[in-house]
Amino acid sequence: MSIFMVLRVALKALARNKMRTSLTMLGMIIGVAAVITMVALGRGAQSEIETQVQSAGTNMITVRAGNYRSRGVSMGMGQSPTLNSRDVDAIRERVPDALYLAAGVRTRDQIIAANQNWNTTIQGTDIEYPQIRSWATELGTFFTTTQVQSAAKVAVLGSVVRDNLYGEGIDPVGARIRIRNQSFQVIGVMSSKGAGQFGEDQDDVVFIPYSTVNKKLRGRDGTNISQIDISAASADSIEVVADQIADTLREEHALGPGEDNDFMVRTQEDLTRIRSQTTQTMTGLLASIAGVSLIVGGIGIMNIMLVSVTERTREIGLRMAVGAKSQDVLLQFLVEAVVLSLVGGLVGVGLGFGLSESLTRFLSWPTSIPADAIVVAVGFAAATGIFFGFYPARKAARLDPIDSLRFE
């Protein structure tokens, strides 16, 4: 009996009990759809990270002050006064591939404009910051070298801050805002950047020169900074540049061979890797939970096939009486199980597509279905069919024709 004929016999047998066939497939359908949807969510999250990295600039290196121990007490990241503006100059001088540099200090305060006020991050930075982040102003300009050197009271608003203080689409350039009872002139508004890598709103920020933050807002002598943003000349040289920066800073800070760094150099790649790993672990976890339902679906198929073999004992006996050999019966039942799981798997892939699409459309969760996930899910479904279909099929093939014909 050719495999094509076995397939026809199996399909006819399945078509004879459509209700049971579709209910049996349901387990497989749900299992495969769950796996596909979970993987789609994971991959979607991952590709979103990649997009964010692109938007943040792949060449970015961040140096943060910290890892500083004062008599055994560890200070928090960015809090200890271990970086200053001289470090920026040193890097600029000795690391030629560090293309753009910007000293940074962060604080948080209330911003007041006329009768509106807003609490936000105040980012003190330098003139090259827009190039490092590939982030342009939408209105007005970013500050100039002169303004940084003179610690001028000028501010560039993030779009969210503008929206909250003045309203959407309003041009506030030239207006004045107050921070800690000091008057600042708005000289520009940044274009909208959207959510950052950690879900924070990057547009909820006010940029002012770092020197102004130190001298006018913090009231200290303004050379200590909490971080340095750097853009490497190319993404390929990023690791080399990061190492050169670390060497330069160790030299600047006069750290001996055995001493820990009192700063931390992070490349964009490091951050991406950590986040991707987290996402991958999560995807793997969710997909394996969904995978359990595939096995449950397979057991469902075995269950139904066993019932089917018992119920169709007379049919099996008759088939044997008219000339079916053991392997014909074995193949028929095995093919029935595989058809159940395979068709269930394919329908499940379709349902998975639908579910992923709905998640994207109605909940705006990013999804992306990789081709290999489809192949693996359908292949696993077929394998489940063979594995769980074999025992009932063998049971059918080993039946005795006379006993089967007499079976009531």
Binding site: M1, R16, R319, M320, V322, G323, K325, D328
Partner: protein, 259 residues
Amino acid sequence: MALISVDNITKTYAMGDVEVRALRGVSLDIEAGEFVAVTGPSGSGKSTLMHILGCLDRPTNGRYTLENRDISSLSRNQLAEVRNSQIGFVFQGFNLLARTTALDNVELPLLYGGSKDSSSDRRKQAEHMLAAVGLTDRMHHLPNQLSGGQQQRVAIARALVNNPSILLADEPTGNLDSRTSIEVMDIFQQLNRTKNITVLLITHESDIAEYGSRIIRFHDGTVASDKANLVQRIAQDEIADTTGMSDDDSTDRPIDLAR
């Protein structure tokens, strides 16, 4: 050499702790073209004999040769091949596949025959057989849409579709009324006469056994008597006598087995 030859066969079953000796040394020769009725009370071993002759079972001891081939030593798969090509079965309960058209039921043995016939060839053969038993306009009916007699005729068409040399019928009239029983016997007698098919009819009804040209009586696993039936009933004549008197299902086409 006879078509069927059994020599001192025995069959012993273990039923729990009890040993059942279903056949206790049976020897028979059946020539091609005979219409043999095997009869006897239940438990006399006639069904066991039929299972062995039908290659569904193997004897415990003794020799069974079918067309000069020793069947006793064949494997399970070889027995399946013999059943498929040489033997047609008709059962008491018809044993049609439920929710399957008459045509698909008749086609079934062709699927297991290993022939290279195309599916349209198989379909034609099945249609031909159904037409021969007078069911041209019932081909696409399901078993539960057919009367008992019609179902048994589908089963007969199925038994004949592979052109077997032997037709083995196990209580074929057990589920039928007397008139339909005569019609089925008519088909058997026509097959026997026009196509020279050897018919082996197992029945416990002695009046049905009288359609055979030879009657073998079983008792306690042995042959009690084996003689030619000198007063064979002819189903065709009996039908002719009653036609006009009955309101039979006249939608059935005439049976034409000579086709």
